[in-house]
């Protein structure tokens, strides 16, 4: 069902975990339809993403796209990170089965949500970034630090 790359990122996901005091964190998805993804970003003074971690509640494709997405944004600046679309993530994974395309959207949205959080905290505006869709179900716990 899945490509070798997907299976590789699923079995050995890169960058799983949390970041203490992250520059930005974004959680997207909806537990009701089975998918939740959270991305943590550590962004330095120059706007470079030094570190990126994730946690995912979802299928094989969701885990693999999370893993690949964190790989792709690491070391990039914010502008470049915005170009990490779901298509870019899928291409990097050698594709996904049609029913699993929506899983890859989560990764893109999660990065945007984390960047939005970063922008809000620092009172800056990121060109081309829109407020992430409020797609999270009520059961979800709001972040507390």
């Amino acid at each position: 069902m899945y490509s070798e790359k997907v299976m590789d990122h699923f079995t050995n996901p890169r960058n799983v975990g949390e970041i203490e005091n992250p520059s930005g964190v974004g959680t997207v998805g909806n537990a009701k339809c089975g998918d939740i993804m959270r991305i943590y970003l550590d962004i330095d003074d120059k706007g470079i993403i030094n570190d990126c971690k994730f946690k995912t509640f979802g299928c094989g494709a969701a885990v693999a796209t999370s893993s690949m997405a964190t790989e792709l944004v690491k070391g990039k600046n914010i502008e470049e990170a915005l170009k990490v679309t779901n298509k870019a993530v899928m291409d990097a994974l050698d594709g996904l089965p049609p029913v699993k395309v929506h899983c890859s959207l989560l990764a893109e949205e999660a990065i945007h949500a984390a960047l939005w959080d970063y922008a809000t905290k620092n009172n800056i505006k990121i060109e081309g970034l829109e407020k992430p869709k409020d797609d999270i179900s009520e059961e979800e716990v709001t972040e507390t630090y």
């Binding site: 339809c33 946690k55 509640f57 979802g58 885990v63 716990v141 507390t144």
Partner: protein, 394 residues
């Protein structure tokens, strides 16, 4: 473990070698069409009759009340659609449950589009039909009650005797989808007041593509597949002789081994349940603890998602499923788990393990060890688990 561990016997089973052996001569040697007039075909006719007799006896049914079909889905469709057509003049109301197999549910939807009304009765948190709701749902126009004998996902066995009595008292026909129960449980269609019963060969170590429908004598049901006069004019199509012979052989073995096999599987299943529930936190057993199929265990693991679990088990050579195989392409959580009251995100994290007579203690222990590891790994990646831990530390 090098060997594959197959724990998905509710999806399908291996055909027993003795069954294949029994089928073989009917492909290349005794291949005649049983409806033919010549001597050569009479062996085949006899073989078909013998299989019919074996199956009738296993249910305490009349021989001529067993009709061969291409499997459980066809049997279910036939029972519902032909009953609806035959008894529409009496009424257009049908009662079923919320946890039926899609072969029943989607056929009910089809009938709803064709002017019938269907009531879907609730089950309790163990998956047992609410009999009081069933009684309340009965109308003067109710022509059929169709309730599965045992559930394919959570293994819960329904109070079939009580349902049969309610149907009989109200003069309503009673069909049961026994696809999961036949060959695992003793069934007496007379003692249980069953008017129609569906079963499928590949669920009890018989071949795929063959099953049967029991139809009590006197019912007005017409055929579902129209054409030649086979099966006493009720099911057209050249008889699948090797399939029927295999079905008969599988039924014979299933009945002969029923008690012993059931005890052995239930013991292993109980060990499995015991270990999982004590060794893995935030795990729950779905379905009734006692009233369940001897080979079925169904768990939910909070904070994790089913597909990831299945793929990781697969990488350890363990075949399992999260519900019915025929919907595994779908992203929706199981309608059965929702019906027993699980919230969506927990329903997503379910695991069904179904044993066979070949399952060993070693396999079960290995499987539990692997589930433990995988669940821990997936939880370490789960934002839901993270939130839960954080909230409970505060």
């Amino acid at each position: 473990m090098d060997k594959k561990i197959y724990l998905d016997n509710a999806a399908t089973t291996a055909t027993r070698p003795e069954v294949v052996e029994a089928m073989l001569p009917y492909f290349t040697e005794m291949f005649g069409n049983p409806s033919s007039i010549y001597e050569f075909a009479s062996q085949n006719k006899k073989a078909v009759d013998e299989a019919r007799t074996t199956i009738a006896n296993s249910l305490n049914a009349e021989i001529s009340d067993i009709y061969f079909t291409a499997g459980g889905s066809e049997s279910d469709n036939w029972a519902l659609i032909a009953t609806a057509e035959a008894y529409a003049s009496k009424g257009k109301h049908i009662i079923t449950s919320k946890i039926e197999h899609h072969a029943i549910l989607h056929t009910c939807e089809y009938l709803e589009k064709n002017g019938f009304e269907v009531t879907y009765i609730d089950v309790d948190e163990d998956g047992i039909l609410k009999l009081d709701e069933l009684k309340k749902a009965i109308r003067p126009t109710t022509i059929l009650i169709s309730i599965m004998f045992a559930n394919n996902e959570i293994g819960t066995i329904q109070p079939i005797k009580e349902i049969g009595e309610i149907a009989r008292e109200n003069n309503i026909l009673f069909h049961t989808d026994a696809v999961q129960a036949y060959g695992q449980l003793n069934i007496d269609v007379n003692a249980l007041n069953i008017d129609m019963l569906s079963a499928s060969g590949h669920k009890f170590n018989g071949p795929k593509g063959i099953g049967f429908l029991y139809i009590r004598k006197g019912l007005k049901l017409k055929s579902f597949i129209h054409g030649g006069g086979q099966e006493r004019h009720r099911r057209a199509g050249t008889e699948n002789v090797p399939g029927i012979v295999g079905l008969g052989k599988a039924a014979e073995i299933a009945m002969a081994t029923l008690e012993e096999r059931g005890q052995k599987e239930a013991a292993l299943r109980d060990m499995l349940i015991q270990r999982v529930l004590t060794e893995i936190p935030y795990a729950r057993l779905n379905g009734h603890r006692a009233k369940r199929l001897p080979n079925n265990a169904n768990f939910s693991f909070q904070f994790i998602e089913g597909e990831s679990l299945l793929i990781m088990l697969d990488m350890q050579n363990i075949c399992a499923s999260s519900g019915s195989a025929c919907t595994s392409g779908s992203l929706d959580p199981s309608h059965v788990l929702l019906a027993i009251g699980l919230p969506h995100e927990i329903a997503h994290g379910s695991l069904r393990l179904t044993l066979s007579h070949n399952t060993t203690e070693e396999e079960i222990n290995y499987t539990v060890d692997k589930i433990k590891e995988i669940v821990a790994k997936l939880r370490s990646m789960s934002p839901l688990y993270e939130d839960y831990v954080k909230n409970n530390l505060r």
